[in-house]
């Protein structure tokens, strides 16, 4: 009963300050809109314009011509690149300088000779226009893939004396793969809705800190200690109440972004709620632990502010980035990874594992809090 009482009044108190809550939620909703709109290009890959490439064949023999001819005949390459043959390198250079072509594929004059002797001193060279961006990457990869293919063919020929069974085409070497198994790709709005949702929920640590400071460090805490309520009832009620506040605020963001921004939060509502609630609890206990650890609300608040920024940054909340294993130190990573896996990848094992990790961390935070609190009492 005391726990329920504690939960009820904890939630009620914060939502009585509805203006502050509304401003907080609105600011995050606005941030989602701004970031989601600003970074649309980074998430949506539009079709590439056709890329023009100039081919200069300086080879005295036939190998250079064979190389270019066979490359130009491959349909999947033709879909990407338009080839233009020139007779001098200067001509090729001029076309690139005039921005009429993106790059030059240059076959050196002794290419055939090298093929015969298997010498690798001089190779096919690709000259690119400065600042050509993604086009140059495409050309580079196409040529590299093609050369690799030829090398493979060479090896096959040496091993079996013919090329029977070897089929070097884009269709056999490449398979179109969607980014996720469900074929869904996060939009920028979806990505930043998730990132800002988690950042907003990290502020739950502030609730945890304030709530703990109020009832442990201040006069109100003295009065509570003198009441018949037991310490564990006070702590559990407070943590659940504060976590519920963060949870409810997260739900508002989720519902709003789903309806207004058309963000895809997946179809597994119970699992989404489980992830969100787990994250709410872990952030709240983090704040409570920091308050108990420092014994000073202001110090704990400062640490929380830094942690919110660091955790959000490492979890790619500000810009989409890959921090490799470093991101594992961010609490947001586990919630983010769980939601992304649930919504886009459908890998429920990762989701359950991450929920487990969040509860594990919660237990660690609680143990540290209780241990420190007991030490301070003694």
């Amino acid at each position: 009963m005391n726990i329920l009482n504690q939960i009820y009044y904890t939630v009620k108190r914060i939502f009585m300050e509805y203006k502050a809550v509304a401003i907080k939620l609105l600011s995050f909703i606005l941030l989602i809109l701004i970031l989601g709109s600003a970074f649309t290009d980074a998430f949506e890959v539009s079709s590439l314009d056709e890329i023009t490439v100039v081919c200069y064949n300086g080879d005295q023999g036939d190998s250079g011509k064979d190389f270019l001819d066979s490359m130009m005949k491959i349909d999947s390459i033709k879909e990407l690149i338009t080839f233009k043959e020139v007779s001098t390198f200067e001509e090729a250079e001029e076309l690139v300088n005039n921005e009429e072509a993106e790059a030059v594929i240059c076959i050196p004059d002794n290419f055939s000779e090298q093929v015969q002797t298997q010498d690798t001193a001089n190779t096919i060279e690709v000259y690119q226009r400065k600042y050509s961006g993604i086009s140059s990457t495409v050309i580079e990869n196409v040529v590299e893939s093609y050369v690799n293919g030829l090398n493979c063919a060479g090896v096959v020929y040496q091993l079996q004396g013919n090329l029977d069974g070897f089929d070097f085409t884009a269709e056999s070497g490449l398979e179109e793969q969607p980014l996720t198994s469900s074929g869904k790709v996060p939009t920028s709005m979806g990505y930043y809705a998730l990132a800002m949702l988690l950042m907003m929920m990290l502020y739950g640590a502030e609730y945890g800190c304030n709530g703990t400071a109020e009832e442990s460090l201040g006069t109100l805490g003295d009065r509570v200690k003198l009441s018949p309520m037991k310490t564990y009832q006070q702590y559990i009620g407070k943590i659940i109440g504060l976590a519920l506040v963060t949870f409810i605020q997260a739900l508002v963001i989720i519902i709003f972004t789903k309806i207004v921004y058309d963000v895809d939060w997946g179809n597994n509502v119970p699992l989404l709620l489980a992830i969100i609630f787990s994250f709410s609890v872990v952030t709240t206990t983090l704040g409570a632990m920091l308050c108990i650890l420092t014994g000073n609300e202001s110090k704990a608040q400062s640490i929380i502010t830094v942690l919110i920024i660091v955790f959000t940054f490492l979890a790619g909340g500000f810009v989409y980035a890959d921090f490799s294993n470093v991101e594992h130190i961010s609490l947001s990573y586990y919630a983010k990874s769980a939601i992304l896996n649930m919504v886009y990848a459908g890998d429920l094992n990762v989701v359950y594992r991450n929920i487990g990790i969040m509860w594990g961390v919660t237990v660690v935070f609680i143990i540290i809090s209780v241990f420190i609190a007991e030490r301070k009492k003694a």
């Binding site: 009963m1 005391n2 009482n5 009044y9 009620k12 108190r13 914060i14 009585m16 300050e17 201040g218 006069t219 109100l220 003295d222 009065r223 509570v224 200690k225 003198l226 009441s227 018949p228 309520m229 037991k230 310490t231 009492k377």
Partner: protein, 308 residues
């Protein structure tokens, strides 16, 4: 005895904040703990309530040491801290209800208890307003309502009138009197001598962590020397009359200010003074004998004023 304190010591590092305090508080008493800021009153209160770990000594409430799990004792104690201890975002009604439920009042009794507490402190009409919108005096009264909603046997009030207007102060003092009349034992700390003198039947004066005097107000005043300050206003002030008065050996520290003569004398010599005035035909317009109070007691005991 409802509270027994024996040789209570509280140290913070090397600093001794409470130094060997012993107090016995009987049921139905209003004990005033009087002393200047920093005298150790609040620490003594915190030690009684088990909010700080004591360095030495023994504190018993209803014959038992107050431990965290002592629910039955806790239910019998009400605490009004010096700072506001309620939720400013909630209404007065919600605040008092919260404490009522925390003290395990259930069902219909909650509403009745809350109404009674808010009525008692005069906040029932403003019960729906958020506590943060209240004036300082109203907040003080709400602080009290939260502490009395469960009808405690002991009410411990730590400087409950700090920063309030005179009207609210009087309301609070009246409330303490009524609670005491209903049987509540009260411990009241203050550095306002007038408050202690107005409501307390037992007083302990603290300074530098020690109790320097304790007893009823009358007993404390009797601790004072019997010498009194007197102001004599006479109509026929002449140099001869003044010289005459100066010659009376039972007076001391005599000074003159227009028609007024100030001096000190023993209270027992009052009849002698009257006789001499009549005999020497000195016409008296007014005679003031300064009555000692707790302030003067404190001044005499410590050599400093309460609010120094």
């Amino acid at each position: 005895m409802v509270i027994e304190i024996q040789d209570l010591v509280k140290k913070y590092g090397k600093k001794t904040v409470v130094d060997g305090v012993s107090l016995n508080i009987k049921e139905g008493e209003v004990l005033g703990l009087l002393g200047p800021n920093g005298a150790g009153k609040s620490t003594t209160i915190s030690a009684i309530l088990g909010l700080v770990k004591i360095s030495a000594g023994d504190v018993k409430i209803f014959g038992q040491t107050l431990k965290p799990g002592a629910v039955d004792i806790k239910k019998r104690i009400g605490y009004v801290p010096q700072d506001f201890a309620f939720f400013p975002e909630l209404s007065a009604y919600d605040n008092v209800t919260y404490w009522a439920k925390l003290y395990q009042i259930k069902g219909k009794d909650v509403k009745e208890a809350v109404k009674e507490a808010l009525d008692f402190v005069g906040l029932w009409d403003r019960r729906k307003d958020k506590a943060k919108t209240y004036s300082g005096g109203m907040k003080r009264r709400l602080n009290i309502a939260c502490a009395i909603v469960h009808k405690p046997d002991i009410l411990i009030m730590d400087e409950p009138t700090v920063g309030v207007d005179p009207q609210s102060r009087n309301n609070i003092l009246d409330a303490v009197r009524i609670l005491n009349q209903k049987g509540t034992t009260v411990i009241y700390t203050s550095h306002y001598m007038e408050e202690i003198q107005a409501i307390c039947n037992q007083v302990a004066i603290m300074d530098n962590g020690r109790i320097i005097a304790q007893g009823t107000i009358d007993e404390l005043i009797h601790l004072m020397s019997e010498e009194r300050k007197v102001r004599l206003d006479i109509s026929n002030m002449t140099e001869e009359a003044y010289k005459k008065i100066q010659s009376w050996k039972f007076l001391s520290d005599i000074s003159k200010e227009e028609n007024e003569i100030h001096f000190k004398m023993n209270e027992q010599d009052m009849s002698k003074l009257m006789e001499e005035l009549v005999k020497n035909k000195i016409e008296v317009i007014a005679l003031d004998v300064e009555k000692p109070n707790l302030e003067t007691v404190f001044l005499q005991l410590t050599g400093k004023k309460l609010r120094d």
